[in-house]
């Protein structure tokens, strides 16, 4: 079993965790705002996966109404270790949960795994100077 302990990465992260930044490779705001964190155009996360059987990728995220007004429906494309394994279209704003199985052949056991969650549209009017995709609360692998 793997768990994000002191200084190590685990298979799952809450943005409220003190060490959440360690899971972020790029494409997200530098700091969490309480229990969530803004994702930009190409958020890239990393997780350590132990030797496991089949796993699912799970994330809790939000498309805020004010950015949705600008973007309209958003499609998120998910890639594991640079291989796209799913895309999901979000037709409504608000809180959402994504929970989908991951092709086992894409998983690197006992190693770091990078997950890209790429929105097809981002909003620029809400926060001038940055493109906002969605709000992430948690993400990672689960059984």
């Amino acid at each position: 079993m793997g768990e994000a302990g002191s200084g190590t990465l685990g298979p799952f992260v809450y943005m409220s965790q003190p060490d959440a930044s360690a899971y972020i490779v790029s494409g997200m705001r530098a700091n969490s705002e309480g229990a969530w964190r803004w994702a930009h155009e190409r958020p890239l996360l990393r997780f350590y996966l132990p030797e496991v059987g089949r796993v699912r990728f799970r994330m809790d995220f939000t498309l805020p109404a004010n950015t949705f007004q600008e973007t309209g429906p958003v499609t998120l494309t998910l890639a594991l270790n640079s291989q796209v394994f799913d895309s999901v279209r979000c037709d409504k704003p608000g809180q959402q949960r994504y929970d989908h199985s991951v092709p086992p052949e894409l998983v690197h056991a006992n190693a770091l795994n990078q997950v890209a969650i790429t929105p097809d549209k981002t909003a620029g009017r809400v926060s001038p100077g940055e493109r906002l995709g969605f709000v992430l609360a948690s993400a990672g692998f689960a059984e």
């Binding site: 079993m1 793997g2 768990e3 994000a4 302990g5 002191s6 200084g7 685990g10 298979p11 799952f12 992260v13 809450y14 409220s16 965790q17 996966l49 132990p50 030797e51 496991v52 059987g53 089949r54 796993v55 948690s138 990672g140 692998f141 689960a142 059984e143």
Partner: protein, 722 residues
């Protein structure tokens, strides 16, 4: 052959009991039911001794049985005192009422007793221990099943019969108690000069549906009723005749009531008080007390030695032990105080007509309040006092079966009143016989009411294969067959629900039947039930300092149980490595505290009782630290913790008044780790029924659990652990 073996086992037990009764009572009491039950008390003790010495072999029982019967025969011939002529004439109306009804019902009962044993409790535990003692040739500590700690006086007799005729022979022994009880109620009426009342009361008791089903299976309530009534009878005889020869039998019966069933404990007080009150001679009382102790002490000592609690599985708050938790006992006993009723006012209807409390006495017992009119007569007062004594425990478990011990006294008191109009008494008795008829009961009782359903004579005589009968009459029998067919004889199997263990030699660990089994279930649930996942974090931070001890103290009162999956001591954000010299203690339930220091998020220390201030977990160490992290499941929102530390001067100080609480993600691989942990604890198989919580998870995620389904029957799936 099987039918003959059943009859042989039962008859040998009954005749040996009768023989011992003869030897015990001599000519002081010649009535066969009294001799049988008194002798059974002695035989039960003898078998207990054999179990302790691990001498449980059929040949030993044959020798003992033969010796007892031989000795009783020789003694009887030597005594050769002619029996008192009986005033009773077979043609008396009272006898006609009793004998004609009893004869018909006796045939039904005999067939049912001989048929394969399919009672829930008989097949789940009464006979499972009997079968185990026969296989193992005696006692051995059974700490994984709380029922093994119940007194087993009747089971000792079942064991004697089981050694020859297996399950049905044991049920036949119980049936012998039923016959003895019925006859002795009748005989008591004759002796007291109210034969019609005695006959009607005997019918009221003998044909009562709950008495019929209980007395023809391997339960023990009818045995307790018989013991109680014989005790009452002997006390009446002793008070009239003042024959000191009766005193040992009185003491043995009073103690045997406890040995048969814990709820029989008032019999001892009743007998001692009665003898002291009537005789005022301490020597008489000492004889009774000594004989009471002879029957009770072995069971008390057995429990004290093996589970650390003389009253196991109860009174765990006083006699703390690792086998049954206080919280479980509280929930368990609370349930039986009301079952699924919403008010105690529903009890009269439930126990007499609807059978909502697992069985029914019969609708005529709605007339039971008229028994109070019997207070006008001395006999009535004696009977109602005995009813009070044997019914005093009833509200601890309101199941209908628990009314069987006081039933003979209530029935006799009712009949004394009814017999003032003889035709009315006979009419009520006959009406009761009709209303108790197996095909009539379903017309007014709830479906599934516990009563005799049919007369399976082919199965009783074993001229028809019994497998179909077993599968249709005994829930989960198919699961037992699964175990027999797919697991090796020494296998340990975990199940969330009871199964008829009397039909398997496998060690079956039922979740609720011990604290250890509860923990096995908890480990499994911690792997997939959201509220039980080890995702809760409670972190205490304090200025770095040298410590010689830390103590996490509970400060709240609530209904939650406090648990800790892991406790880590921190310094500068990193865990201080645990050392073998650390001494771990906890109060309450200190036995599992190492599970909070084993780096497994699934194994845990748990209080085993609801939270209250002062509970603590303590670690003796010598370290510099600045934090403590507790990993736990979030199903304990009521807990409030503070952290104390002991400095080098060995003074305790509060280090933090409260922890910071946050969530951590659930680790991957919990299911497989849980399965491995069960395997590490000696469990090789899981038995899960489709209607149980979590059954889908085991079935659809076998790969994640690392388990493999190896059999399925009647909604039960058997999985092999990795």
């Amino acid at each position: 052959m099987e039918a003959l073996a059943i009859l042989f086992g039962a008859c040998l037990t009954a005749v040996a009991s009768f023989g011992l009764g003869k030897l015990l009572l001599g000519t002081a009491c010649r009535e066969w039911p009294v001799r049988f039950v008194c002798g059974a008390a002695v035989l039960s003790l003898v078998i207990f001794l054999f179990c302790c010495l691990r001498l449980v072999y059929p040949v030993m029982f044959l020798l003992v049985g033969g010796a007892i019967i031989g000795a009783a025969t020789v003694t009887e011939r030597r005594a050769a005192v002619p029996a008192k002529p009986r005033s009773f004439t077979p043609a008396a109306p009272a006898a006609v009422v009793f004998l004609s009804v009893a004869a018909v019902y006796s045939v039904i009962y005999l067939v049912n007793a001989m048929a394969p044993e399919v009672s829930p409790d008989g097949s789940a535990y009464h006979l499972s221990f009997v079968a185990r003692y026969v296989r193992d040739h005696g006692f051995h500590p059974i700490t994984w099943n709380l029922y093994a700690s119940l007194s087993g006086g009747a089971e000792m007799l079942f064991l004697f019969a089981f050694a020859f005729g297996r399950h049905s022979a044991a049920a036949m022994v119980h049936f012998a108690f039923l016959l003895a009880l019925g006859w002795q109620i009748f005989a008591y009426g004759r002796r007291g000069g109210f034969p019609l009342a005695g006959a009607c009361a005997a019918v009221l008791v003998f044909v009562s549906p709950v008495v019929g089903i209980d007395g023809t299976t391997a339960y023990n309530d009818v045995a307790l009723a018989a013991v109680g009534f014989m005790l009452f009878y002997l006390l009446q005889v002793w008070s009239e005749e003042n024959n000191p020869r009766l005193l040992p039998a009185i003491g043995l019966l009073a103690g045997f009531a406890y040995a048969v069933k814990y709820t029989g404990w008032p019999a001892a007080i009743y007998a001692i008080a009665f003898v002291v009150w009537k005789s005022r001679r301490w020597r008489h009382a000492a004889v009774v007390v000594g004989c009471v102790a002879l029957e009770i002490v072995p069971w008390v000592v057995k429990n004290w030695l093996w589970v650390g609690n003389p009253a196991a599985p109860f009174v765990n708050a006083v006699f703390r032990n690792p086998f049954v938790t206080v919280a479980f006992e509280k929930d368990y006993t609370e349930y039986f105080k009301l079952y699924d009723l919403t008010s105690r006012w529903q009890i009269p209807w439930a126990v007499t007509v609807s059978a909502k409390l697992q069985g029914l006495l019969g609708p005529v017992f709605l007339l039971a309040p008229i028994a109070l009119l019997a207070l006008r007569w001395r006999a009535g007062r004696q009977l109602l006092l005995a009813a009070l004594v044997f019914g005093v425990n009833y509200f601890g478990n309101i199941g209908t079966r628990f009314l069987i011990p006081p039933l003979p006294f209530v029935a006799l008191a009712m009949a004394l009143v009814l017999a003032r109009i003889p035709g009315l008494a006979v009419a009520v008795a006959l009406l009761h016989a009709v209303l108790s008829w197996p095909s009539v009961v379903p017309r007014y009782a709830l479906p599934g009411a516990m009563h005799i359903i049919k007369v399976p004579w082919r199965e009783a005589l074993r001229i028809r294969d019994t497998d179909h009968f077993m599968r249709t009459r005994l829930a989960e029998y198919g699961a037992v067959r699964l175990l027999e067919e797919h697991t090796p004889p020494a296998a340990s199997v975990f199940s969330f629900r009871p199964i008829p263990e009397a039909y398997t030699s496998r060690r079956v660990l039922i979740e609720y039947e011990s604290a250890g089994n509860e923990m096995l279930g908890r480990i499994l649930k911690s792997a997939f039930v959201p509220g039980m996942l080890p995702t809760w974090r409670l972190r205490f931070d304090f200025p770095a300092q040298p410590l010689t001890g830390i103590r996490v103290v509970q400060t709240a009162v609530g209904r939650d149980l406090w648990s800790i999956a892991e406790l880590r001591v921190l310094r500068e954000g990193r865990e201080v490595p645990r050392k073998p010299g650390w001494r771990l203690t906890a109060d309450p339930f200190p036995w599992t505290i190492p599970d909070a220091f084993d780096n497994s998020p699934l194994t845990l220390w748990r209080t085993g009782e609801t939270i209250k201030p002062g509970m603590y977990v303590e670690v003796d160490l010598t370290e510099v630290a600045d934090g403590v992290l507790i990993e736990a499941a979030p199903d304990q929102s009521q807990i409030r913790l503070k952290l104390e530390g002991r400095d080098r001067q060995r003074e305790w100080h509060t280090l933090a008044q409260a922890p910071k609480i946050f969530d951590a993600p659930p680790p991957l691989g919990l299911r497989r780790a849980a399965a491995r942990e069960l395997k590490r604890r000696g469990v090789s198989y899981l038995l899960v029924f489709d209607d149980e919580f979590g059954a889908d998870d085991f079935r659809t995620h076998q790969d994640l659990w690392g388990i493999q389904q190896i059999g399925e029957a009647h909604g039960g799936r058997l999985y092999q652990l990795p």
